[in-house]
């Protein structure tokens, strides 16, 4: 089906704004869902048959119309966007109902939500720099309006400003990257850029600009600061779209630009990407561990996962650059696989967080607890999300990290000793990241959903409506499916490197759909279905065998707790306490302000864990600009004669120059 349908439907859903406050629910979201469906269909279509679809719209510049094109890579993104959008469309109506009577009315949500989706889809479709940039900035701008939707808190305004500013800077750097390519290609359409012969130096410049721009959008350390500010403050279904999809669009842009347009990759780029990715992954998860605002924590995890994706991309670049196309393809597939997975489970988690927010109006985990009993469905889906993002079998997160490991483990084929060391070390960092992520989600789930309720709101929590549960259920199901059928998915994804670089993964599915053997059966194999089967069997046996006899029934009693008195909610381990050992161990990475406040008797412990990069990068830049601004004011001291002096001086100097 024609890919253009999806963005058109998205634009139509923006028209839901016209239908008043209830337009979003009754008109916006259904069209949203249709757009998602269309995207899924056309995406799958292009994964199955790789012949690109293309179209030229008579828009934009007179001599440069909008070129649209959808190939396999675009197909992956369409599939991804579609899945999340569909879930959001199911989830949204229930979620936004309460806004209809709030101060900030939902028309803005409908309008900019639709534009946002259309922007993302068009970015994927764009086949010339101009259309790409228009769609790109449309995406940024509309998402900015979504971030500032709840603008009565000053924090949200700050977040929105920071977000828009960094998005703009990133966009400019991307634009410059395109301009570099266009200067050699003699045109702004991607076809010309692909064809162009660009010397390595300029290729590297273009790559660096793209890395900067897309990295800024994707939230790589140290350009991540906007992400944990902006994502949490948007309405949750929007956070799901931003964290789940928009970051992926940035990844798409990077892949498109680096592998497709710039071409002729150099392994040095791979090293840069690899290191940045590893650092982002590790710092992302460490900062996430320190958070106790649920959505903020999830946002930091986006930094982590994007880091993992870029580790994969870095591996791909290294292998392609050193002439091992198959391994490069493996790295690329691993990265794309993780992109897909992260979209699914991060959207799932954000929707879950939204459901909790909806039910308890509470974002701070320190006030949650025992939600599993109150909201079994949400709790169950959230657990799936946690297991998936913690990269535990048999869910999808594990598969992509496994593939990344497999790629990293092939370092021995490389000639350069440095790379041989670098790859395993980054893999080790990946391992550490994974384990910390597991720790973090034990904390999240244990504190939020298990134990005893810590707050009044939470005690009164109710399960959310059917639509919201369906939305989460869809994503949870997808997580499981992508985890159990890795061979199929990897096979589909392998089409991307085949189209971009000319090599796929010949071995991946060679042993049949049951076995995932990325390089060769002898090297490594993973049969997810069998693992699941084994788990199920073992469980069944154990359960049946143990449940026999007279000791079947379970009797309840109050917890023993080493014989201490009955534990109250206050005695539970808090999120902060849970993270304390890790805070101690990695203390140097955080800006910790910790101590006792208040006078004798009524002292309170207070703890502030900040992001070091503010002090390292952002504030200095701001200071610099302000200083420069103060400098130039001498031009305008307010005295007319001084102004006249400037004019006369200018005149004389110019005359002297001219004559």
């Amino acid at each position: 089906m024609p890919a253009i349908l999806a963005p058109i439907l998205a634009l139509l859903s923006a028209a839901g704004a016209l239908a008043g406050a209830r337009g979003l629910r009754l008109l916006g979201f259904p069209l949203f869902g249709l757009a998602g469906l269309a995207a899924i269909l056309s995406g799958l279509g292009h994964l199955l048959d790789p012949t690109p679809w293309s179209l030229v719209l008579p828009m934009g510049l007179p001599w440069l119309h909008w070129h649209l094109r959808l190939d396999t890579l675009g197909g992956v993104l369409f599939l991804l966007i579609g899945l999340v959008t569909l879930a959001v469309a199911l989830y949204g109506p229930g979620y936004v109902r309460e806004f209809e009577h709030g101060r900030s009315r939902p028309e803005a949500l409908a309008l900019f939500g639709g534009l946002f989706l259309a922007g993302m889809l068009l970015v994927v479709l764009a086949d010339d720099a101009f259309a790409f940039m228009v769609a790109w900035e449309l995406m940024s701008l509309s998402s900015y309006f979504l971030v500032t939707y709840r603008h009565d808190q000053a924090a949200n305004r700050r977040a929105g400003f920071l977000y828009l500013l960094m998005a703009h800077i990133g966009g400019l750097s991307i634009l410059l990257g395109f301009a570099v390519l266009a200067a050699f290609a003699g045109g702004f359409d991607f076809a010309a850029m692909r064809a162009a012969e660009v010397p390595l130096a300029w290729r590297t410049i273009a790559f660096s600009l793209a890395f900067l721009g897309f990295g800024m959008k994707a939230g790589l350390v140290p350009l991540h600061a906007w992400l944990p500010e902006a994502h949490p403050v948007a309405p949750s279904h929007v956070s799901a779209l931003m964290s789940g999809v928009m970051l992926k669009v940035a990844v798409y842009g990077f892949v498109r630009m680096t592998f497709d347009l710039v071409g002729g990759v150099h392994w040095g780029w791979g090293v840069a990407v690899l290191i940045t990715g590893s650092v982002s992954a590790l710092l992302g998860v460490l900062y996430a561990l320190m958070q106790h605002d649920l959505k903020r924590l999830l946002a930091y995890h986006s930094v982590e996962n994007i880091g993992i994706v870029f580790i994969g991309l870095g591996l791909a670049l290294v292998f392609f650059g050193t002439g091992h196309p198959v391994l490069g393809a493996l790295g690329l597939v691993a990265a794309l696989y993780h992109t897909l997975n992260h979209a699914l489970f991060k959207a799932l988690l954000f929707l879950g967080a939204g459901a909790v927010l909806h039910a308890t109006h509470e974002r701070d985990m320190e006030h949650m607890g025992g939600l599993l009993k109150a909201m079994p469905w949400t709790g169950g889906f959230f657990l799936v999300g946690c297991i998936a993002i913690a990269a535990l079998p048999p869910f999808n997160g594990f598969v992509s990290e496994w593939l990344t490991f497999q790629a990293a483990l092939q370092a021995w084929v490389l000639d350069s000793g440095v790379l041989r060391v670098l790859l395993p070390v980054s893999a080790a960092m990946l391992a550490l990241t994974g384990a910390l992520a597991a720790a973090c989600f034990v904390k999240v789930y244990g504190v939020a959903f298990l134990g005893l309720p810590r707050g009044r709101h939470v005690r009164k929590a109710r399960e959310v409506g059917l639509g919201m549960r369906l939305g989460q259920g869809l994503l949870a199901l997808a997580c499981l499916a992508f985890g159990i059928l890795p061979t199929v998915v990897a096979g589909l994804l392998a089409g991307v490197p085949r189209q971009l670089m000319g090599t796929g993964l010949p071995e991946a599915g060679a042993q049949g759909w049951l076995w995932l053997t990325p390089i060769s059966p002898a090297t490594a194999s993973y049969a997810a279905p069998l693992v699941v089967l084994g788990l199920a069997l073992a469980w069944a046996i154990a359960a049946l065998w143990l449940r026999r006899g007279e000791v079947r029934e379970v009797s309840r009693c109050e917890p023993w707790d080493c014989g201490f008195s009955r534990p109250g909610p206050g005695m539970q381990y808090t999120a902060t306490a849970f993270a304390q050992p890790i805070r101690r161990v990695f203390g140097m990475l955080f800006q910790i302000d910790e101590g006792m406040r208040g006078e004798q008797g009524r002292q309170r412990f207070h703890l502030q864990v900040g992001d070091r990069f503010w002090g390292w990068l952002y504030l200095p830049v701001e200071r610099l600009v302000n200083a420069a601004a103060r400098r130039v004011t001498f031009l305008q001291a307010g005295r007319l004669r001084a102004y006249l002096g400037w004019s006369l001086g200018t005149l004389l100097v110019l005359l002297w120059v001219a004559a």
């Binding site: 025992g370 599993l372 297991i387 535990l392 079998p393 594990f398 496994w402 490991f405 483990l409 370092a411 021995w412 060391v421 395993p424 070390v425 080790a428 960092m429 391992a431 384990a435 910390l436 720790a439 034990v442 904390k443 789930y445 244990g446 504190v447 298990l450 134990g451 002898a522 090297t523 490594a524 194999s525 993973y526 049969a527 693992v531 084994g534 788990l535 073992a538 469980w539 154990a542 143990l546 000791v551 379970v554 309840r556 009693c557 109050e558 917890p559 023993w560 707790d561 080493c562 201490f564 534990p567 909610p569 539970q572 381990y573 306490a577 849970f578 304390q580 050992p581 101690r584 161990v585």
Partner: protein, 307 residues
């Protein structure tokens, strides 16, 4: 078949270690078969569940047990090429163990007692720090064997015969340290203590009783055995059966039992001479492990890859 053996044998190893320890501390401790009695007793007992506990609490034991079980299934015990081997390579094994740990920790936090949370928090810290070391050690092996399938690795070892790899030495040391940490033995954790502030593993299963407790304990012993077998068979594979015919199988079985007995002895000795360390010494301990593993990797890349 072999899986059943492992499952059956696991408590024996634990018991063996216990009794040896007792001897070393010249006490007359319980015999090596004590764990079986414990299990029987627990299975007979009725299950008490804290009223604040949720479904996760009750499901956890099964998940922990089954995931550990599955992990064990992938490790060659007496014979090399198991039919189950290619299902899961070493990293899947690690992943399965992590899954078990994940639920263990969740169960710890479920009841909402202070100790549960404490145990979970510490357990996750230790495991997180142990992970890279484990992976590094494994990478060293797998990179020399060009494979992450355990049977392939073992086979590689056998075929190349007795070669002294400096890298293996480091990897071995690293892996041993990690194994000690992962299985919750002294000096990282003390399976015997119920002293509130020092518990890690015990703190998490504090609220369990009856068959749940039995499964938890059993899973822990399985894990111990698994690491034992891993170390034994990957680094000293000699004697393991090449084929599945009963003869080879028997020999392999005898050999592995002997190896495990030795390992258990070593463990017991170390536990007697060492004292448990503070929690915040553990990171340094695990850094040491990571250092070993990294050295192994480096020495592999520097000294051996040319070969």
């Amino acid at each position: 078949m072999q899986l059943a053996l492992v499952v059956a044998g696991a408590p024996l190893l634990a018991g063996w270690v216990k009794s040896v320890k007792a001897r070393l501390q010249n006490r007359r401790g319980p015999g090596p078969l004590q764990p079986y009695r414990d299990l029987r007793k627990l299975f007979m007992k009725q299950v008490l569940v804290a009223d604040s506990a949720s479904i996760v609490f009750r499901a956890a034991p099964y998940v922990v047990f089954t995931s550990t079980l599955l992990a064990t299934a992938a490790v060659p015990l007496a014979v090399r090429d198991l039919p189950t081997a290619p299902v899961a390579d070493i990293m899947v094994v690690v992943g399965l163990l992590a899954l078990g740990r994940f639920f263990l920790a969740l169960a710890g936090m479920d009841v909402g007692t202070a100790f549960g949370g404490m145990g979970a928090s510490r357990e996750m810290l230790i495991s997180a720090l142990a992970e890279p070391a484990t992976l590094m050690a494994i990478f060293t092996l797998t990179m020399s064997a060009h494979s992450t399938n355990l049977s392939t690795v073992v086979g590689f070892q056998l075929t190349q015969g007795l070669v002294l790899h400096p890298s293996y030495l480091f990897a071995l040391m690293g892996l041993v340290l990690v194994a000690v940490a992962e299985t919750g033995r002294i000096p990282v954790d003390n399976p015997a203590t119920h002293l509130e502030l020092t518990m890690v593993h015990e703190a998490m299963i504090l609220e369990y009783s009856g068959r749940h407790l039995a499964l938890m304990e059993w899973a822990a012993w399985l894990k111990l055995t698994l690491y034992g077998v891993l170390i034994a068979n990957v680094f000293f594979p000699w004697g393991i059966g090449e084929t599945t015919d009963p003869g080879a199988f028997g020999i392999g079985l005898a050999v592995i039992v002997a190896k495990l007995a030795l390992l258990g002895l070593a463990l017991a000795v170390s536990e007697t001479v060492l004292a448990k360390m503070r929690l915040f010494r553990v990171p340094q301990y695990l850094n040491l492990a990571f250092l070993f593993a990294l050295l192994g990797m480096l020495s592999f890349l520097i000294l051996e890859v040319a070969a």
